[in-house]
């Protein structure tokens, strides 16, 4: 998934902030993951400008699904 995330991060850099955490190594990431009640990795949480969760995807998801969610955030 990493190449997909890297590519999308570059493509959406002007509109969406990507915050990528390795929850094995980042305590902040692990805490945040628990805050969202996420149980599995990878989990992608899409948050709109007002701070509300707009959607989430879990697992090895298709790039098209990611794009669809990111476009909805714009």
């Amino acid at each position: 998934m990493k190449p997909v995330v890297d590519r999308l991060e570059q493509e959406y850099e002007d509109t969406v902030t990507f915050k990528v955490y390795d929850v094995d190594k980042s305590q902040e990431g692990a805490d945040l993951m628990r805050s969202y009640g996420a149980q599995y990795v990878p989990t992608f949480v899409f948050v709109s400008s007002d701070g509300a969760e707009a959607g989430r995807l879990v697992g090895e998801v298709a790039e098209s699904e990611m794009r669809s969610k990111l476009d909805a955030l714009r």
Partner: protein
């Protein structure tokens, strides 16, 4: 043809058919996809359960009784396993475990079950490390961000 000859021919036919079945059955054992519901039944029946995700993922949550054997350890660990013992294999969504069941079948494991939809679809008992930890407060910058944010929670890619 006498009665004895008939019996001899019948025995010969059974032997030939038996040998044929053995020769032409698929080599390398067998693996099959099973539904989350069937997987829960297999767990309840006491089938050996193998979680091929990373230790970090396993600690977060796993199916009860599951043993953690990450993909990079599977070849080494499975050398000691009984190839005729039924085993249920899973990961998060079924991607990594597809490779694992193929490997086990190639190694001659005869009874490999695959939770093809992954643990995210599993409806049985899950042991969660997060149960013992209080839900953390949502950080300020998450509540009021400057724009849309995508949070990616992963382990080793």
């Amino acid at each position: 043809m006498g009665h004895k000859q008939l019996v001899v021919w019948a025995i010969a036919a059974v032997v030939v058919i038996g040998v044929g079945v053995l020769l032409f059955s698929p080599a390398g054992g067998g693996a099959q996809d099973v539904s989350p519901e069937r997987s829960a039944e297999l767990v309840a029946e006491g089938v050996r359960v193998i979680d091929v995700r990373t230790p970090g993922e396993y600690e977060m949550s796993h199916i009860e009784r599951a043993e953690n054997v990450p993909m990079n350890m599977l070849a080494h660990e499975s050398m000691e396993w009984d190839r005729d013992e039924p085993v249920l294999v899973y990961c998060t969504t079924g991607a990594r475990s597809s490779d694992a069941i193929r490997y086990l079948a190639d190694q001659g494991f005869t009874d490999v079950y695959h939770l093809a939809a992954g643990i995210i679809a599993y409806q049985g008992a899950i042991v969660s490390g997060a149960d013992e930890v209080e839900i953390a407060e949502m950080p300020e910058d998450v509540v009021a961000g400057d724009g849309p944010v995508l949070y990616v929670f992963s382990t080793d890619w």
